[in-house]
């Protein structure tokens, strides 16, 4: 049986393969990626695309949460100021209800209350990064304008719409409370209450009734603040969840497409050894044949 008298092509082909393996291992070590092109691992490459998409989504949700937290915290602290102002109004009103006051005393209190009314309008017209926060969705115009002809002394020119925003795959949060619900809710209109207190001080009648109106407006605002408190809590919780999602997604990315560096370096070393061995075999395969022994 004849054997193949020319083994060199096979050896060269083996050399090519060891070279190819070295190239692959080097690339994995250098890039830190085991999936550099889709064919390296098609299924993982596809999952890496989705992983990248989810990571980008999560990052964006975190960014949006940051933006809304800023606005909500501003709104909440503004409401805190409103509450403080209303407390002042109540104590003024209580003072005015004291029978020892005369007309000019009551007028003085009424004047201070007018100042408080303006203050409240200013607070209700809070603007954060170019948007009026309590205007519903008509955010480009100040929601409250002074109007001497209006029974409450102000007009609400915003709307009663609310916005939502997606901060998670199945999580939308409401981002605003319109002034129509917060400050000029019929039955709990804070401006109407202040106006009524001013009027009653000026006329001297039913001051304690008016003070009661301001008190219930004060209570109402306090209850409404809960919305912001809850929303901020919810956003914080979601933020924590998304942060841990980010870590998990990063871990998944490494699992799918990262190089196990110690393993890859070991592979590279053994590939280089195999290559070296093949080279030595080729060089040792001297084509000794009978002709060299015929002494010619």
């Amino acid at each position: 049986m004849r054997v193949n008298p020319n083994p060199l092509p096979d050896l060269l082909s083996a050399l090519e393969q060891t070279q190819q393996q070295i190239n692959t291992d080097e690339q994995q070590v250098a890039s830190g990626q085991s999936v550099n092109v889709p064919s390296d691992n098609p299924a993982n490459a596809a999952m890496l695309v989705q992983n990248a998409n989810q990571t980008a989504e999560t990052d964006q949700y975190l960014r949006s949460i940051g933006s809304i937290q800023g606005e909500m915290q501003n709104a909440d602290s503004t409401l805190s100021s409103v509450v403080t102002v209303l407390q002042r109004a109540i104590s003024l009103g209580t003072e005015g209800a004291n029978g020892t006051n005369n007309v000019s005393d009551r007028q003085a209190i009424a004047n201070e209350l007018e100042g408080i009314q303006s203050q409240l309008v200013g607070l209700a017209n809070l603007s954060y990064q170019g948007n009026y926060v309590f205007a519903g969705t008509a955010t480009q115009t100040a929601p409250y304008v002074l109007d001497a002809n209006s029974p409450s002394g102000v007009d609400y020119v915003g709307n009663s719409e609310t916005n939502q925003i997606a901060v998670g795959d199945n999580l939308n949060v409401q981002t605003n409370l319109p002034g129509s619900e917060l400050f000029s809710n019929s039955g709990n209109d804070v401006f109407q209450a202040i106006q009524d207190l001013i009027t009653s001080l000026q006329s001297g009648t039913n001051i304690s009734g008016a003070v009661g109106e301001v008190s219930s407006a004060y209570n109402y605002i306090n209850t409404q603040r809960v919305f912001y408190g809850n929303a901020i809590d919810q956003l914080n919780t979601q933020q924590t969840y998304l942060n841990s999602e980010t870590t998990q997604l990063a871990q998944q990315q490494t699992n799918l497409g990262g190089t196990n560096l110690p393993q890859a370096i070991t592979n590279l070393e053994s590939s280089e050894t195999a290559d070296q061995a093949t080279l030595e075999v080729i060089s040792q395969t001297q084509q000794n044949n009978l002709f060299s022994y015929l002494g010619r």
Binding site: P5, P42, R63
Partner: protein, 458 residues
Amino acid sequence: MSSLNASLATALSGLQAEQGALEATTNNVANANTPGYSREVPVLETSDPVTIGSLTFGTGVTLESIESIRDPILESQIQQETQTQGQLNSLVSALQQTQTTFSSTTGDIGTAISNFFSSINQLATSPADLSLRQGVLTAADNLASAFNAAANNLTEQRTNLDDSVEQTVGQINQLTGQIAQLNGQINQAENAGGTGGTLIDQRTELIDQLSSLVDVSVIPTGNTLTLTTAAGTALVAGQQSFQLSTQTNSSGEQDVYSGSTDITSTIVSGQLGGILQARDQQIPSLQNQLDTLAAGLANAVNGVQTAGYDLNGAQGTDLFAPPPGGGAGAAASMSVAITDPSLIAASSDGTSGDNSNANAMYALSNQAIVDGQSPSDYYSGIVFNVGNAVSNATAEQSASNLMLQQLDDQRSAVSGVSLNEEAANMIQYQQAYAASAQVITAINDMMYDVINMTTLTT
């Protein structure tokens, strides 16, 4: 009773036969590294004996022929495998180029899609903010650019493959011409009583080269060979070669013709088969998927955009230029139709601070807007398809290479020149030659004796 002259003739035949046999050895050694060379073996036959009276005398040895040792079945298998290898080589090469377009980089389509939807979610936090609106336009531009670039890469690849079609057809024609010529020479040699010998080796080598280019069927016909494609189109018949040509088709690409028949779809193997498969099936399929994604995205976004109201309270207009009907070319032509950021329709009721339409646009990222899948799911499907095609073709290529290597080893075992063998043969023939020469010398002495038998010595 024999004669000295007869003995001389017999010994002489030995000299000539051994010398002729040595020719074969010499040729083998000279061609030890010639690709496709089949070793030659001298066929020595005893010459017909003569009978004189009751004695039969041999008349020496004849060098009947010098045969090339080759295995036609092996050669046929090698040709088949060469075709497969040629096809896989060009297919893998084309697909590997294609998949770089879909590898993850900072500018790839997957990233651009994510960034686009991120910009919309950000817009929803403050829909009247002009810089956020501009952010959406920029992200939309980047998305369109990513699609344009990918589509252009695929088109460019198709063009390159198209050029290769023409080149390969040229090479095929050259080879078939040479084979036809060799057929003529071989025919002549065999009609004159000889064998084709090394001419047949040359022809086999050319057929192997042709096999790597196109699928070839070899049919021995009488003294010669007929070559056709696997589908039966004639390439070579005897001394005649049938040239293939290319014609531009309605898509501006080259179709392969034999005479006036379009044979493009019948070529399935060899380099040409691989090129055509990549150009006419694999890449168009990818272009199709890309277009489906681009059109699906553009149409869905436009649908939401036109259902809402922009910053000025007017009804929204298309964000992306409407893709071509049917979708073909959607990726190459994708562009943003809006330059004024206030025209983005974030609002559902015309109020500038309402973000419901922006929310609806963001929600598209997880809706089945592209052939029943979300955009990023569909894109990940494309990535998988490309990677899988390359991975499968590469695996087949490795298997084919291994098979071809084994077949080549077998052919080498049958037909390869072993220098050890040739050296041993050389010793053999040389010694036999020397022995015959000694015999001739002895006969010469005997003749001298005869001639000088009756010389008187004085």
